[in-house]
């Protein structure tokens, strides 16, 4: 089961303090749906406001990206440059 670590403190507000958890999804889109189902509002929040790092690679707005069975998933705030 892919393991998720949320950085930054925003996610904990939805999950009641939990910053690490396992999910079952195989794509980012499925992952967001799962988050929304388990903690209402979180899926939308993560989709709009956060970037998702899968096995070290950062994805922003990439709902089709695949999440492997043993993937390390990290949620970080979206990054803007200058």
């Amino acid at each position: 089961m892919p393991h998720v670590v949320a950085m930054g403190g925003d996610v904990a507000q939805f999950t009641g303090g939990q910053a690490e958890f396992d999910v079952g999804a195989g794509t980012v889109a499925g992952f967001l749906r799962e988050l929304e189902a388990r903690w209402p509002g979180l899926g939308d929040y993560v989709g709009a406001r956060m970037a998702i790092a899968i096995d070290g690679e950062i994805f922003q707005d990439a709902d089709g990206a695949a999440i492997g069975e043993a993937s390390e998933v990290c949620l970080i705030p979206k990054i803007g440059g200058g």
Partner: protein, 764 residues
């Protein structure tokens, strides 16, 4: 972990013909002859001239705006204020790089109930001449009720601080506060047990550092021409870092349909993040709609300083814990950043990058985003990262002294490498941090002797680099030359890199490729130029479009040879027939196929839109030698060395240019630049005389070393390079000054009076 010597030198690609070479940039002639058209160089028939009236108060209620007298002045065709703009709900919209609050943006473009900083736009006019527009401004009667203001970040956080907005309740706390404040958000990143590890450490160092607000300092002021007809169709010519962003933001602020706006990008005279938003365009469009004529709106330098986003000034508190052998076991970083009049300082990215160069098992990074009565901050090259790096890298320098360890060795020992979990979360792969660091010691400058009053400082830095949405089109002309169209304004020479990548892929000379930047109606959507993304993401789209063209060409060759595309190979600009059943077939050139395009299926063209992922992060290591004049406190930069993991230098000259330009902006930030406010909250140095950016006589040559650790996710291995170079210089310079005078000055800029005071305090 490989040694730096195993990595190929910049330029030694795998037999590349164009990648890694230094052709003259395709838009170069226009730029050196003065023919290139920047934002203020455009005119339309019947054009009016716009001017903006700005608040003289740092914080005030706007009681009334009376435009009657201004409207009555002959030659004035339109006058607007906040009441003429639509009301917006608080909505987050993608358009720039991170989601922006559209309501905040709209209120920044034109004040509503309150003026929130000196320079905040409160009204605007359009008239038949600049002189009449200027005169009309004086006839607009604005009644203000001045309020107490606050600019210093810690003052703004105090419980009794003047309240700037009554709808801000600090986000990111365990419990949302009942009362509003100026503290918009708390960011927090935690790993392990930092308190326990600090308690157990052999050596602890603690330091407090401060920086002042600095401006991106682009030489070209904001400028646009906008034209909106009675049918609601609008055209904008403007210099920005993203014309699609301009379209989106104007549509949102004025509640227009995106498809009704067409934005043509002018050449842009510098941005560095400061032109990733809009100030003038919605105002010019509205004036134009009312006046029934095009409106030109250009900022003066004074307006640029007072009314456009600088980056934050801030406080950085750092505590480091280490074992005697130099292993850093714990780090605590607290950041407090000015956001300006609306939330959204770069404290979040500052927090994420603060420890990104290191492998530290226990840390806590807290960042506070605080509104202040100063211009809303805008992105500035690696937003936030230079500020947190200044604190962390100054503290690292002091820790090295405390441990008796060489400053480069301390960083190498604790440095990030492949397989390390980054401080901001994901695991690093294909990074070149240690290589960049080692390159410093291998540079001849490392062995330069230091004399009296001279010192050396080193510092490192990190930036994420992003990918994002880009569209590129490749069209083959009937003569076999190629046009490459993208939607990204060229701020640093990216056209040259697009041409190189297209030429390399197609196998044709780079002189046969013409890159252009197309307007919003002529190319698919592209995210703006920023975040060090263009060579990576737009380059990827260019390569994919060129690859589609090649597939198309192979299909045509196959038809000509009466075989299948699998039997056709494309190499060095030609199609080769691999089907032995067809006998000896002369290869078909791109030129030859183009000439026959009508007969083999029609025009040869491909457009690719993608959302590029897999941007490789940038690591930089800098070394600075200075001499301090003990009598005047003046600092001379003697030598400056910048090393960086650049992935692959597509056009090495422009990669070097990014490294040199970023380093020099950082040197200015360290030594001279700052916003100076008077007691009323008005900027005192809103011009280039007293806002002192580096000039040619301040600097030596900037020596660069490009390390190539190719990014496997980009067709040619490119990583973003533009932002990492501004991250190390603040501390590199500060550490050098510390080395030279023997005293740490923790507050930037290191202006001569501060240095004199530090020297005097040491003597006394």
């Amino acid at each position: 972990m490989s040694d730096v010597l195993d990595r190929p030198e910049a330029g030694e690609g795998e037999g590349f013909k164009s990648v890694g070479t230094r052709p003259i940039r395709p838009d170069g002639i226009e730029k050196v002859t003065g023919r290139a058209a920047f934002g203020a160089d455009f005119a339309m028939p019947g054009m009016l001239y716009g001017r903006i009236k700005r608040s003289p108060h740092a914080h005030a209620r706007i009681v009334s705006v009376d435009t009657k007298k201004a409207l009555a002045l002959p030659g004035v065709k339109a006058v607007v204020s906040g009441a003429d703009f639509p009301d917006l709900a608080d909505e987050l919209v993608e358009g720039g790089e991170a989601a922006s609050s559209m309501r905040d943006l709209a209120w920044n473009v034109m004040a509503r109930a309150k003026a929130l900083y000196e320079g905040h736009a409160v009204a605007a006019v359009a008239a038949t001449s600049p002189a009449i527009a200027e005169a009309a401004l004086d006839l607009i009667e604005v009644t203000y009720e001045p309020l107490a203001h606050v600019i210093d970040v810690e003052d703004a956080m105090a419980p009794d601080a003047p309240l700037i907005h009554d709808h801000i309740f600090t986000a990111g706390l365990d419990e949302t506060p009942k009362l509003p404040s100026n503290i918009a958000r708390k960011h927090q990143f935690v790993r392990g047990d930092v308190d326990g590890a600090l308690g157990a450490a052999d050596v602890v160092f603690e330091g407090r550092y401060t920086t002042k607000a600095v401006h991106q300092g682009y030489i070209e002021p904001h400028a646009c021409v906008a034209s909106m007809g009675p049918d609601g169709q609008g055209q904008i010519w403007s210099s920005s870092q993203g014309h699609f962003m301009v379209r989106t933001y104007c549509a949102k602020v004025l509640k227009l349909d995106i498809s009704d706006l067409r934005v043509t990008p002018a050449e842009i005279g510098g941005g560095f993040g400061g032109k990733t938003t809009v100030y003038l365009e919605p105002v010019a469009l509205l004036l134009s709609r009312i006046a029934g004529a095009p409106v030109k709106l250009v900022m003066s330098r004074d307006e640029v300083f007072r009314a456009t986003g600088p980056t934050s000034g801030g406080v950085i508190e750092v505590k480091l814990g280490a074992k005697k052998d130099g292993t850093i076991t714990a780090a605590e970083v607290t950041l407090k950043f000015q956001a300006g009049a609306f939330p959204g300082s770069p404290v979040g990215t500052a927090a994420m990058t603060a420890l990104a160069c290191y492998d530290i098992p226990n840390f806590r990074i807290v960042g506070w985003d605080v509104v202040t009565n100063s211009a809303k901050t805008a992105a500035y090259r690696a937003p936030g990262a230079p500020i947190s790096a200044f604190g962390v890298e100054s503290a690292m320098d002091e820790l090295a002294r405390k441990l008796g360890v060489d400053p480069v060795d301390l960083r190498a020992k604790n440095g990030a490498r492949d397989g390390v979990r980054a401080a901001y979360g994901p695991t690093f792969q294909n990074i070149g941090f240690l290589e960049s660091l080692h390159a410093l010691k291998q540079h001849p400058n490392w062995h330069a002797n230091l004399g009296p009053n001279q010192g050396r400082g080193v510092a490192v830095g990190f930036w994420f680099n992003v990918g994002g949405e880009s569209t590129a089109a490749v069209h083959i002309g009937e003569d076999g030359t190629a046009t490459v169209a993208t939607g990204n304004p060229d701020i640093g020479g990216s056209r040259a890199s697009m041409a190189i990548m297209a030429a390399e892929t197609l196998g044709i000379p780079v002189e046969d490729v013409r890159p252009i930047v197309a307007d919003t109606a002529s190319i698919g959507y592209s995210m703006l130029t920023g975040g060090s993304r263009t060579t990576f993401a737009t380059g990827m789209a260019v390569v994919r479009a060129a690859e589609k063209v090649i597939e198309n060409l192979k299909a045509r060759a196959a038809k000509i040879w009466d075989t299948t595309p699998e039997n056709v190979e494309w190499s060095a600009g030609k199609a080769y027939c691999l089907d032995t059943a067809k006998g000896e077939q002369k290869p078909l050139t791109l030129k030859g196929l183009a000439a026959q395009s009508a007969r083999t299926g029609g025009p040869i063209s491909a457009e690719v839109s993608l959302n590029a992922q897999g941007a490789g992060p940038g690591f930089a290591a800098h070394m600075c030698d200075v001499e301090v004049d003990p009598e005047t406190g003046h600092v001379t930069v003697l030598r400056y060395t910048a090393t960086q993991d650049v992935g692959r230098a597509i056009h090495p000259s422009y990669v070097e240019g990014q490294m040199q330009g970023g380093a020099v902006q950082g040197i200015g930030w360290a030594l001279n630049e700052e916003y100076i406010f008077d007691a009323e909250g008005r900027m005192e140095n809103a011009g280039f005389l007293d806002y002192r950016v580096p000039v040619a006589s301040d600097l030596p040559m900037i020596d660069t070393v490009m390390i190539e650790v190719p990014n496997p996710r980009h067709p040619y291995g490119a990583k973003g390079v533009g932002e990492a170079p501004i991250v190390p210089p603040l501390a590199a310079v500060a550490n050098a000054v510390r080395d030279a005078i023997g005293v740490r000055i923790p507050d930037l800029p290191l202006s001569p009076p501060k240095i004199r005071a530090a020297i005097d305090s040491k003597a006394g």
